[in-house]
């Protein structure tokens, strides 16, 4: 059997065109999904510049969770729609994303956490997300391996899901390329100059000018903005994760402990994949090194929750950067004072699950067809104005 020639799924290495209508800095899930959503609606001249390879940043390093259990109505509704897009992604893009809708089980130890989660659940239910507060007996029925007695209760939504992150990037990249987007990898931007009617971007592979630029560089976005003299309030934070040897499928939901930030799910390959909150000093450095301290903390956390897992072997650990903001919400829209320079960053380590829906509304916004309340709620100026609304469900 001879397979048909494969579709191009990766970026290109080559000289840049001199001009573009719109340049997206950052070839992660946000940048690629935005490029696709623009091109599929007829936008010409979209160029994506990625400093490394596709999936090299946080989009290729996350746990692949898709959940609707959020604490603000906007995030809940956005994630409902994002999950719907993800459900059709394999069909629409022709690539398997290994999506598995096994639910999310959030375990809690304190009455204080429970009070907050009860408020979240009421809000989620008003949005038609079928989350329920369940007791430890029911949690144990869902996951018999759980040492459930140490917990007070759990929050369970059966319609949350996990995916394999990498094919999302290739799916968006391939479809965007087929719609005329040029994706240049290994093309770091080293300077940005604001000119009368456009921005001139200098890269390792030549210069490109465009009237509109979108900064979708994730944890690197403050550095990209700084090239222009624009200071952004988001900062990078290392989050570590590990993967075990593959096991027979046994764990249906993503299991997470709210107080420790531990999360673990079983991928469709059978591996357990998970992380835990490690408290670190705030820094502007992007640190991607792996530490033994993480393996210790994660192993203790996992074995405490599911004692049987002590015998399971860790195969690999790695790290990725969260892109944090002080109120737990992203930064989007045109930067005040910088006409044509747009921001799409600060997604708090949860941008992967948000990207399919955010990119859709971002494309409609840029095309002038429709604007979404997120452009008001998540505007950069809210920090200076003190008009923030905190999101409480940031995990990991």
């Amino acid at each position: 059997m001879t397979a048909s020639p494969p579709k191009r799924l990766a970026g290109v290495h080559g000289p840049l065109p001199a001009n573009a209508e719109l340049v997206i800095v950052g070839g992660g899930i946000m940048g690629l999904a935005l490029a696709y959503n623009l091109a599929v609606r007829g936008q010409k001249g979209v160029v994506v510049l990625e400093a490394s390879y596709l999936a090299s940043g946080a989009s290729g390093r996350n746990g692949g969770g898709l959940r609707q259990q959020w604490s603000t109505e906007m995030n809940i509704r956005l994630m409902q729609e994002s999950l719907e897009i993800c459900g059709g992604f394999a069909r629409d893009m022709g690539i398997n994303v290994w999506m598995r809708q096994g639910g999310y089980l959030f375990l809690m130890r304190t009455a204080e956490t429970r009070a907050q989660i009860e408020r979240n659940i009421a809000l989620q239910n008003r949005c038609d997300v079928p989350t329920r507060l369940i007791g430890t007996d029911e949690a144990r029925r869902l996951v018999p391996e759980l040492a459930a007695d140490q917990f007070l209760a759990a929050s369970y939504n059966p319609t949350d899901a996990v995916v394999f992150p990498w094919p999302f990037l290739w799916g968006y990249a391939g479809a965007a390329s087929r719609h005329g987007v040029r994706i240049h990898t290994d093309t770091p931007v080293t300077a940005i100059e604001r000119r009368a009617n456009d921005y001139l971007l200098t890269t390792a592979r030549g210069t490109i000018a465009a009237p509109r630029v979108v900064n979708a560089a994730g944890a690197w976005s403050p550095r990209v903005a700084a090239l222009l003299g624009l200071t952004l309030p988001d900062w990078p934070a290392r989050h570590e994760i590990l993967s075990t040897e593959p096991l027979k499928p046994f764990l249906a939901p993503m299991v997470s402990v709210l107080e420790s930030g531990l999360y673990v799910s079983q991928s469709t390959r059978g591996e357990l994949v998970g992380g835990i909150t490690m408290h670190e000093a705030k820094t502007n450095d992007i640190q991607l090194g792996s530490r033994l301290a993480f393996l210790g903390a994660m192993a203790r956390g996992l074995v405490e929750v599911m004692p049987l897992l002590g015998e399971v072997k860790v195969v690999r650990q790695w790290a990725g950067p969260y892109d944090l903001t002080s109120d737990g919400n992203p930064i989007v829209g045109e930067a005040p004072g910088w006409p044509g320079f747009f921001l799409c960053c600060g997604f708090m380590g949860h941008g992967f699950m948000m990207a399919p829906v955010v990119a859709k509304y971002y494309a409609l916004h840029l095309l002038g067809r429709e604007t979404h309340p997120l452009f008001d709620r998540w505007r950069l100026s809210r920090f200076a104005e003190g008009a923030t609304e905190a999101e409480g469900m940031i995990i990991g």
Binding site: W166, S243, R291, V312, V314
Partner: protein, 94 residues
């Protein structure tokens, strides 16, 4: 090279899979690792990195010496969670 020749035994990645990845535009070993899954099993590339690098070089026309190995990941060999769980928190600093 026989197309069904297995280059990564942990993840059953064949010479044909590697050629397919290169044809889809993946150029570096980091990218080919992510697309094919080679090097993500119990050996973590200790057996398969060189044979896959040679296959990528052959498929892409890149000299093998121009290819960089992917980032090695700890632990050195698969290790039980209980052994990490038994570590003293104090000895983990740094």
């Amino acid at each position: 090279m026989p197309r069904k020749l297995i280059l990564c035994r942990c993840e059953d990645v064949t010479a044909d899979d590697v050629a397919h990845a290169v044809a889809a535009g993946f150029q570096s070993l980091e990218e080919v690792k992510r697309y094919t899954g080679f090097g993500t099993g119990p050996c973590q590339g200790k057996e398969c990195l060189v044979p896959v690098a040679l296959a990528v070089a052959r498929a892409s026309g890149t000299p093998v010496t121009a290819l960089r190995p992917f980032t090695a990941r700890a632990p050195l060999s698969p290790t039980a969670l209980k052994q990490f769980a038994a570590l003293e928190e104090e000895s983990e600093r740094g």
